[in-house]
Amino acid sequence: MIKLNINKKIYNLDADPEMPLLWVLRDVVGLIGTKYGCGVAQCGACVVHLDGEAVRSCVTKLSRAEGKKVITIEGLSENHTHPLQQAWLELDVSQCGYCQAGQIMSAAVLLNENKKPSDQDIDDAMAGNICRCGTYLRIREAIHLASEIQGKERS
């Protein structure tokens, strides 16, 4: 049995330690907000937080997550109120939506480490998240808006 802390809840899982974390989240635990894209850490659709870092769960073995805190899109906030989620809705960022959970999880790490990112900071942080609908400009705008919302909430 492997003990896993996912979204602040403890799970005791009977799963192969070699299993990709993404499989565990979707098929074992049932958290299907995190998406499978490429399976080789090239697209960013499967990004979740592992002790606050934006890891790609399709190539991260379950054994690496043991003893660490996993946060998925379902656990980013209560009631979808994270500044990024507010900004995403405000600007209607998503088109098909498939990549957006990964986009938001990557952006959350950026805003955690840089409260007021420049366009270049955003490009540096988000370069590994691909959107086939091409929503990049709205994503950038939404991250700026989320930065403002985050600033107001903390002041």
Binding site: V40, Q42, V55, R56, K61, A107, V109
Partner: protein, 203 residues
Amino acid sequence: MKIRIRTFVVTSTLILMVAVMAFSLDTSKSKAPFVVMKRDSIASVAAFKKVYSVLMSPRCMNCHPAGDVPLQGDDSHLHAMLPKRGLEGKGKYAMKCANCHQPTNIAGLNKPPGHPNWHLPPADMKMVFQGKTANELAKQLLDPRTNGNKNMKQLIAHADDGLVKAGWNPGEGRTLPPLSHAAFKKAWIAWLSNGAYAPEAKK
């Protein structure tokens, strides 16, 4: 006569004291380490040419780029997604090396190669290999101001560094450096222990 005897005794005592002091200051029997380095410029340069062929291979050079984006593949193209070096060489924000590069290799083609300490050289000492001549690279490797603050002993030990050795365990579908690790290490030590000569700069 008494004065002569006294003078003899005093003089003898002084000579004895000086001799004892001199003996006690003799460092030839101390355990202070020092390296007796052979000087053989031909053997040293020949060994470095082998070392250079490894360091300029994609498995080594790809993480010692001239810019701030690592290289990728046997053609050393810019790394997909353009991850940046960051201050510590570990990437930036959501694009840190360890977000994709796991502690170990994972099965399958085109999967990110793994090591627990995957990183580029830090921003304040980039230790660039890409584009360096053999002369330039040899000098860079020998200077603690450009080699990661390594002395001769640490340089020799660096041949067995975990991330260096990861070049010979690159994951499926990637070519190996042109020499085995054993042959590389032998050449590395031969280069350093024969005087660490840099190949002549081409004019």
